[in-house]
Amino acid sequence: MLEINFGPQHPSTHGVFRMTVQLEGEKICGLKPVFGYLHRNHEQIAENLPYAAIMTYTDRLDYVNALSNNFGYALTVEKLAGLEVPERAQYIRIIMAELARIVNHIAVIGFMLNDLGAFFTPLLYAFRERERILDLFEAVTGSRLMNNYFCFSGVKRDLTDANLAVIKKMILKFPAFLEEFEALLTKNEILCMRCQNIGILSGETATNAGITGPVLRASGVNYDIRKVDRYGIYDRFDFKIPLGQKGDVYDRFYVRVLEIRESLKILDQALTQIPQGEIINKKSLSILKMPRNFKPPVGEAYGRVESPKGELGFYVVSDGTPQPWRYHVRAPSLINLTVLEEMCLGQKIADAIIILGSIDIVLGETDR
């Protein structure tokens, strides 16, 4: 019985994450995830800042796709304070959220293939596409990764026609990349050998453990918050939810590829339907200028979005002062990690890394 430590410093644990694995030969008979190496007191910091300033810190939670975090937080505070969002801002929010989804899924697929040993080639192809989207983010929001773009009842800067043209061009070019990716990898024998029937998670276990996101949908359960809650204006768009059947690593990988296609459909529809108008509700402009004067009514609110990793929820309790009384983030990566041991028991050690990659964690969220 060998006890091995996939330590915090490891080339493929997606951040500072540690797994203590008990091995018998090559088989895993026990696995314990240890995290907390990136704890930055996000929730405690937020209790001392006015609501608008917390937005700048939410980018840093899931740093791969910062816009979904912004969306979730903006949604929660708007629920708490009863603010309304104008039409154009709603469309811009959806466009940004779906672009963030594409950005995240490309990164996940690339990194999963990197963990498999494909020596950066699929990763660099994926990042080539991702760069175009990140350049767009820089042109619109000011920053490639830490966007800080949403604000309460609107967004901070407008999308010009030039930006919309860039998005349209990108949508036209994207399917070619997906075809290339599929030709490179989806039927590849080595990939199938490594990923099929590995790390199977049944739909029942997943539902009982509170798993959400592509991991749940790959196990066959039809639960997508965009369809359930219909937040934003998602009910105006026509898109489908891909479901896997076996719940193994290959399914999780392929469900994400299909989700990218659905996101492209939503983007196409949003670009044709987007109206002219204001990007922020005039009544809330004062929050931007004087954050300290924004005192939402006493109460609590829980807002959730379908982030690319699962259900990202924000729980805010207000006591009438400019700072929140309690602020909590429901991080999908943390909750999805709870089934890691169950999925890995009985598999070989090389599979533990692949299974971890397929759950798609990011340590900023897990440790907050």
């Binding site: 498999l116 490594r194 099929q196």
Partner: protein
């Protein structure tokens, strides 16, 4: 053992083909003026030895640069291009880096074995250079058991890897070493059996004779243009990739799983020696594959050493191409592939060679394709783990 006096300049014709042979003969003639005969033999051996000792590391250095540039281009970026034009001085910079790094030996490691392992892996890698025919009359030592020597020496490389992993006293290295030993031993067998048809058809174990057997009309009568040659070449090439621990068979140094496998605890010059041995092995195995199946230095019109270098270069590029494209095999898949797929295929290949020995016309081709088709289909059916499953995905709203 007979000691032959190496040829001097009077008996050789001047042509591009014989450039290096002529150069060596010229040097020996120069020395022959004031040295006795037995010293000339020694000088001849020294010249060959010095050339190989310089050629080996030089090839390895520029192989690393070639690999980085090619993989860079595959991944849509430039390779190294800052150090010297086109990165040509990059290997020198790497060499200086390796020399000046601190040599860290773990506290509880077995110091003697830890030191011996990198040395013991470089020596066999250099020894194989002796039987590779670089051109016509350019084999360093024309052994008449050349092929057997090659197989024996390349099997030695398993031991230093295991020594290195054991002496490091590290769980990761131990896992890596175990995997390597299993992998390399498993892939020796299909490799040896894939070479048997060549021995059957050329009736000799000497590498020089094997190349000479492949001359024919326009010097293009290579073994690869026969049904057993194609199968044998593919099997030999895959086993050669596994023997050098190159991707997709690079489990021993799986970077994303065990940090660096058996050479985790090595730094500085010792690591450089491991690295050197891997690339030199890759080069010599490609060279042997060219000799056995692709006709060695045979080819019309160009000098023989140019043909050999060109063919080896192409094979090395294919190895680099593999590295840029494929994910890694897992350990049990690796073993399964060698024992359950490649090994039966080599035995069927021997059968095909025997068939070819009797006839070599269209009927033989058709029979070979039929036998191969049936056997491949059976093997694929029996090895169900290698076949991708078909998946269906529902799209619900």
């Amino acid at each position: 053992m007979t000691i032959t006096i190496p040829p001097t300049i009077r008996g050789i014709e001047f042509s591009a083909d014989m450039l290096f042979v002529t150069a060596k003969a010229w040097i020996l003639t120069l020395l022959g003026r004031f040295l006795p005969d037995w010293l000339i033999v020694l000088a001849s051996i020294t010249i060959s030895g010095v050339v190989i000792l310089c050629l080996g590391p030089l090839i390895m250095m520029y192989l690393t640069l070639l690999e980085r540039k090619l993989i860079g281009r595959i991944q849509n970026r430039y390779g190294p291009n800052r150090v010297g034009k086109w990165g040509l001085l990059q290997p020198i910079a790497d060499g200086i880096k390796m020399f000046t790094k601190e040599d860290i030996v773990p506290a509880k490691a077995d110091k003697v074995v830890h030191l011996l392992a990198p040395i013991a892996i470089v020596v066999p890698a250099l020894m194989i250079f002796l039987v590779v025919p670089f051109g016509e009359r350019m084999t360093a030592v024309n052994l008449n058991i050349g092929l057997l020597y090659f197989i024996a020496v390349s099997s030695i490389t398993i031991l230093p890897i295991f020594m290195g992993s054991w002496a490091s006293r590290n769980k990761y290295s131990l896992l890596g070493g175990m995997r390597t030993a299993a992998q390399m031993i498993s892939y020796e067998i299909p490799m040896t059996l894939a070479v048997v048809p060549v021995i059957m058809m050329s009736q000799s174990l000497s590498t020089n004779t094997i190349v000479l057997t492949q001359e024919g009309s326009y010097d293009m009568n290579w073994f690869i243009f026969t049904p057993w040659g194609i199968v044998g070449f593919v099997i030999f090439f895959l086993c050669a990739t596994a023997e050098c621990n190159r991707p997709p068979f690079d489990l021993p140094e799986a970077e994303s799983e065990l940090v660096a496998g058996f050479h985790t605890e090595y730094s500085g010059m010792k690591f450089a020696l491991f690295y050197m041995a891997e690339y030199m092995n890759a080069f010599t195995l490609c060279g042997i594959a060219v000799t056995l199946f692709l006709g060695g230095w045979q080819g019309p019109f160009f000098p023989s050493w140019l043909w050999f270098s060109g063919k080896t270069f192409v094979l090395i590029c294919v190895m680099i191409w593999f590295r840029g494209t494929f994910p890694r095999f897992r350990v049990d898949h690796l073993m399964g592939f060698a024992w359950k797929f490649l090994l039966p295929l080599t035995l069927i290949n021997i059968l095909l060679t025997a068939l070819w020995q009797f006839t070599s016309n269209l009927a033989a081709w058709l029979w070979s394709i039929l036998i191969l088709g049936v056997s491949l289909w059976t093997l694929v059916k029996l090895n169900r783990t290698f076949v991708p499953e078909k998946r269906h995905y529902l799209l619900e709203s």
